[in-house]
């Protein structure tokens, strides 16, 4: 434990890293306030810029973008009723009504404090939970990993966007994408059509940039002539004693909810903030204020969405299974920089891991500082005209993808997956399941093959392993979760 604290504290002694955290927090907040960009797109766009950095610095950049953009979505949610990120959608319910009453400063103050508490809480949980989970994960063999990845994929059914069946179709499509290229054991070519640029498979980064950034560009083109709302804000105010008395229970509850939701594979800050908001309303003594400007509503949503960031890093680093869309990009970042996500990361590169945790902790304080003192400036950035912003995103996406391997093929992949993502979204599919499927695809197939080799082709031996059986049962529950929750809602509706 002392070693862990020492490694985390060592971040403070690295001036370059501190500088990077500050700069990246600014970039993250900018990305967060710009509608349409968000943490995942921001991280995907910045990944190529981290190539020349040492691993700790690179992952710090990506994780700082994650925490700061997740918070920053609330700035525009409160001031102009436009959530900068989907995770801040619930913040608009009460943030904007408060701003309309001339209390934007108070709303932002509550959002900043709740987000920071949520973020710090989840990092502390991450520091304790990740090594414990790693201890359990040491025992995992191919059958357990296979069942675990199936569980991760099944959780796609429960994420809010898209709908269960569409999300699963997206996930299966992503897994299929992972089969393109030479098969790892036999070297036999699959779906390459004679194109040897695809021999190593489709790169994660260009696909991610295409799915998240380029498809968003096409989606945003529908509202290209949008005129941003004006806003009124004098200064951000820290919550008063009365405010703290009203929100502390909500904040603590949302910290727990957000961290738990974050730990679940494929779930992220958006789901966490919605549940955090709903629970804040359920337990509130002043339910009638919700939707009209309740500070408990803001605290519930904001503490939960930032708590999900640390939670989502647990399965990402310990199991190599992304906890959210943005952690999928961070996972790719870990691989690009030669860090193998999994339990061995906690023995082989324990200092690196805790330095990353330490940097994430600092990032939470950095965005608190920026949120309190510069929210007004950042809110103005959301007024940047779209005809200037999105062409720049196009340039960053294409050049960023090229930079990774100096291969034009990656640029074409960005364009193709931009169109694929746009078409998918137009037909009600979310793009995150495709990204998660692509990451887990290779893992599913490899572990299934190894399991079959271990048990001489006997499929039934996989569920016969106790831990694998637990994950398979959880996977089935994950698949049935939407049905169960629909039944419960129906039953509740009938009873009320």
């Amino acid at each position: 434990m002392i070693d862990a604290i020492a490694a985390m504290s060592s971040v403070l002694l690295d001036p370059y890293l501190l500088f990077l955290i500050l700069v990246t927090t600014v970039v993250g907040v900018v990305v967060g306030v710009l509608p349409g960009l968000g943490a995942t797109t921001g991280a995907a766009l910045l990944l190529p810029f981290t190539l020349t950095m040492p691993p700790v610095h690179a992952i710090t950049v990506l994780s700082t973008i994650y925490v700061s953009a997740t918070f920053a979505g609330s700035i525009t949610a409160i001031l102009i009723n436009t959530p900068g990120t989907s995770a801040a959608a619930a913040t608009t319910f009460d943030g904007y009504p408060l701003a309309q009453r001339g209390e934007a400063g108070r709303a932002l103050g509550v959002a900043v404090v709740s987000s920071t508490v949520g973020g710090v809480f989840s990092i502390i949980v991450l520091c304790f939970a990740a090594p414990l989970l790693a201890l359990v994960a040491y025992e995992f063999r191919p059958p357990e990993y296979f069942a675990l990845t199936l569980f991760g994929l099944s959780m796609l059914a429960t994420i809010s966007a898209g709908g269960a069946i569409r999300n699963l179709i997206g996930g299966v499509f992503g897994v299929w994408l992972a089969t393109i290229g030479a098969e790892k054991t036999t070297g036999i070519e699959r779906f390459m059509f004679g194109n040897y640029d695809l021999y190593e498979g489709i790169g994660f980064v260009p696909v991610f940039i295409g799915l998240f950034a380029m498809s968003e560009l096409l989606v945003q083109s529908k509202s290209a002539q949008r005129v941003a709302n004006a806003f009124g804000l004098k200064a951000v105010k820290l919550p008063t004693k009365e405010d703290y008395k009203r929100i502390w229970r909500t904040v603590l509850r949302s910290c727990g909810i957000g961290t738990f939701i974050g730990v679940l594979p494929a779930e992220g800050a958006t789901v966490a903030s919605m549940i955090g908001y709903a629970e804040a309303r359920r337990w509130s003594k002043k339910k009638e204020e919700f939707g009209k400007g309740s500070i408990e509503g803001i605290a519930g949503a904001e503490a939960a969405n930032n708590a999900a960031t640390g939670g989502a890093m647990v399965p990402t680093m310990v199991l190599g299974i992304p906890g959210s869309g943005t952690t999928a990009v961070i996972l790719v970042g870990l691989m690009v920089h030669g860090l193998r996500p999994g339990p061995y990361l906690f023995t082989e590169q324990v200092d690196t891991v805790y330095q990353i945790f330490g940097a994430m902790l600092l990032a939470n304080f950095a965005f608190m500082f920026l949120g309190l003192y510069a929210a007004k400036v950042f809110a103005r950035i959301s007024l940047v005209p779209l005809p200037i912003l999105w062409p720049i995103v196009f340039a960053l996406s294409t050049i960023g993808a090229y930079a990774l391997n100096s291969a034009m093929m990656d640029v074409w992949i960005v364009l193709v997956f931009g169109v694929v993502g746009f078409v998918a979204r137009r037909f009600g599919f979310a793009v995150a399941p495709i990204a998660v499927g692509l990451i887990l695809g290779e893992m599913v197939e490899r572990n299934l093959q190894n399991s079959l080799k271990m048990y001489e082709g006997d499929w039934w031996m996989i569920p016969a392993q106790p831990l694998a059986a637990v994950f398979l049962v959880l996977a089935v529950l994950g698949l049935l979760a939407p049905l169960i929750s629909a039944r419960i809602s129906k039953w509740r509706g009938r009873n009320s």
Partner: protein, 151 residues
């Protein structure tokens, strides 16, 4: 009827992939051992997709088809810029490709001040070129302009 179009498209895609997968070479048993042939996993995935498409179809029965707004000019214009970027980059130069596409994109998106659109088209690729070349030491692909620069 429109509710059937999406599941039908997914089904056709899955069947095509299954057909292509059947063409994948088989590996000698001594390499594969007790595991699967390389074609088995994609086929299994696409069969799963067929089942999911059937469920999607079943879910869509009796529901009013969702009306989608037709694509507007800006979206169509942006989509057209993708192949234009490919052609310009492949046959002329990536910097020229970027400059033209960024200028046109800015214009399509509603920027009517030509000098602003031109500034976006010129400054952005130039800034990225110098950033990647000098700070990140990443060389751009050769083309008309980059050849002059790299010699």
């Amino acid at each position: 009827m429109k509710n059937l179009a999406l599941p039908a498209t997914i089904s056709i895609f899955s069947i095509i992939i299954i057909y292509l997968a059947l063409d994948i070479e088989t590996s000698p048993p001594m390499i594969v051992g007790d595991s699967m042939q390389p074609r088995a996993f994609p086929i299994f995935l696409m069969v799963l997709n067929l089942v999911l498409a059937a469920l999607l179809m079943w879910q869509g029965f009796g529901e009013e088809p969702k009306k989608r707004a037709p694509l507007n000019k800006t979206t169509i214009g942006s989509l057209v810029l993708f192949p234009l970027f490919y052609v310009l980059t492949t046959y002329i130069d990536i910097l020229i490709g970027l400059a033209v596409v960024l200028f046109l994109m800015s214009f399509f998106w509603g920027e009517r001040r030509i000098w602003v659109a031109a500034a976006v088209g010129l400054i952005t690729p130039a800034a990225l070129f110098f950033l990647f070349n000098y700070v990140l030491s990443i060389r751009f692909p050769r083309g008309m302009i980059t050849n002059i620069f790299y010699g």
